[in-house]
Symmetry: C2
Subunit: 379 residues, 2 copies
């Protein structure tokens, strides 16, 4: 049977319940391998906002680097390791799980830093360093901060290799959610409707031409298509004006002290007020920011923020994650909502997430609205 | 780092040198998992040419099925197993490696065939049947016939479970190549040029803004992009008039006797004459056909052919595989070529292929043309 997919374009794989039990080959096929492509590294290196934030956090806080030892977790092309060395580090360990490490090694040498930066190919959980380090730097953030679950590897590195006085770059991270308006659901709904219509025609054809009644598969097919079109969060570049209500922080993390336990399940409640007159609440937009503050015993002299909030000028390759309701809700300034939010990792692939929203709208008019819940797959 | 890819859209994984040494979890993440989606099954079930060929081969050769035992290798939704039962089989074993087997079981029951069709979830190499069978039926063909290397599993099934008198459905397979004209290379070349231009701008920006000289990566980046845009064969639906010369069979297989050894490496020479006046030789188009002939001791009464040759009315989801030269060659009726062809499996993923063409053009004018070679990745 011809299928374009031979890893190649595929869907979720199976890799066990948690980071400790992930088969490495499966994790490579499911996750790591895209990072072995220079094209993908270039995409990230071309993200000006991302590059500026890390570059400035290092170059404007040289006191954290001069004469110090640094560990770059997931070095990719080696850029953060190189900047750390250029900022005066005595020694930098740059760990990379994929063959991209070979390119990183070339890049380090071409920039005259091979005496300072040691590129190590391997997974962070497996490598052994000759010493503990003063700084752990890493660009580990996935869509909606935690997709990819890469921070687990940073925690592992920190617990094994950061000196008691050591500093994390970035030092803090936050996840935000806000109500938004968006037309995307119309497109998704059209595609879903089209697919279902095609399916019903297909059922008739198969019965008439081939004597097989496939209608028993309509329910699972509907579930599959609903999930794909209507229940999966989307990457989108939101315009700020699409945010129609107050944004809330739903998770705050201190990178120096956070544990894997702290991020396995995010469970919170938040309140949001609609700020726009006569608008439509289409769902939620989610994003994150990270800060480079150093630590209280050794603060940054210049604090840098990297935000992925909706922006016209300062968008990033992360975009935002958009969680669309099946049908938008008319609302207006003065209306409020109480929202419950639970997010956890997907059972069969710890690098993917699932999130459930519970929404209790309170209209200014006093008119009661039925509370609703919706579950999403973050794939 | 935000990446859309978490198996999800990915590239080649690692799974060892051959079918015997493939890690099952990796093979699932790399290959099998797309077949667990009903949407994908529907695509194949909606291929009218494919469906007609199998349906007709069974229903017009009932003598092979009535009162007989059948094994369907890679049953997917269960369609071939169901048709076999409807044609009068006594017992059908329908083996499926993915959770699609659960849908197949539902479908069998909904069509009243649960006493005849037994759906078994598992990989063909691992399952045990209670008896040997009279017929092995399977739709195993990938792009260019052998992509996906699924026939290995059919061979395994045949050697273990087919009675000495048993019949293979299909019974024979052939791979074809022909010279074609195509404009696709222009598009690919434009994309490649655009990507390279963007890269050079990126190198300058990174040097100027961030003090890092990435020019050492230009060579590997070029190799990576060349491979992606210019050295990978393409799926295409060729129009018959794009075939500009004689087509050649480059491999013939008897499904009753072929061994894995026979298909590990395809190595052949062929001759092709250009048939069109004042044309451009852009590369080769490849396709396959299979036949349902039964066996000499028990032939089909009606022989059926399933061809994936270029066709306006009878296209299939397999399309053709297109192997494009970097630059087309002007030629005309009367010009000929001697072509050497070698195809083998990719080292790090046995389900993907690599092919090398060596071309010696003989122009009718007598003017000598430099012979050339080109290697392709079939991904």
């Amino acid at each position: 049977m011809g299928s374009s997919y031979v890893n190649g374009g595929g869907e979720r794989g199976l890799d066990g319940a948690g980071p400790g039990s992930v088969d490495k080959g499966v994790d490579y096929a499911n996750y790591f391998c895209t990072y072995s492509f220079l094209y993908h590294q270039k995409e990230m290196l071309s993200d000006r906002v991302r590059m500026d934030a890390y570059y400035n956090s290092i170059s404007q806080n040289k006191h954290h680097f001069i004469g110090k030892t640094v560990l770059d977790v997931g070095t990719g092309s080696g850029i953060l390791a190189i900047w750390s060395a250029q900022a005066g580090a005595r020694k930098v360990y740059a760990v990379e799980a994929t063959k991209m490490s070979e390119h990183a090694r070339l890049l380090v040498k071409a920039n005259g830093l091979e005496d300072i930066v040691e590129v190590i190919e391997g997974s962070m959980e497996d490598v052994t360093l000759p010493e503990k380090v003063d700084v752990i730097i890493s660009e580990w953030m996935g869509y909606f901060l935690l997709r990819e679950s890469m921070f687990d590897s940073v925690i592992c590195a920190r617990d094994r290799w950061l000196k008691p006085t050591g500093v994390m770059y970035p030092s803090h991270a936050r996840i935000w959610l806000a109500p938004i308006k968006s037309h995307l659901i119309d497109q998704k709904r059209d595609h879903y409707d089209g697919t279902m219509e095609e399916w019903h025609g297909f059922i008739d054809d198969t019965r008439n031409s081939y004597g097989v009644d496939m209608s028993i598969l309509t329910e699972p097919f509907t579930d599959e298509q609903k999930k794909y079109y209507l229940q999966t969060s989307l990457w989108n570049n939101l315009r700020p004006e699409q945010v129609i209500g107050t944004a809330s922080i739903i998770k705050e993390m201190d990178c120096l002290t956070a544990t894997v336990e702290d991020i396995l399940v995010i469970k919170t409640q938040f309140f949001s007020s609609i700020l726009e007159e006569d608008t439509k609440f289409s769902g939620f937009g989610g994003w994150f920011d990270v800060h480079f503050r150093g630590r209280s015993e050794s603060p940054a002299t210049t604090e840098i923020e990297l935000s992925t909030a909706p922006s016209i000028e300062n968008g990033t390759h992360w975009g935002q994650q958009v969680f669309l309701l099946n049908s938008p809700i008319r609302c207006s300034k003065g209306d409020n909502m109480n929202v419950s939010f639970v997010m956890n990792r997907a059972k069969d692939n710890h690098r993917l997430l699932e999130a459930e929203f519970g929404c209790e709208f309170k209209l200014a008019s006093g008119q009661p609205l039925q509370p609703f819940r919706k579950k999403f797959f973050i794939e």
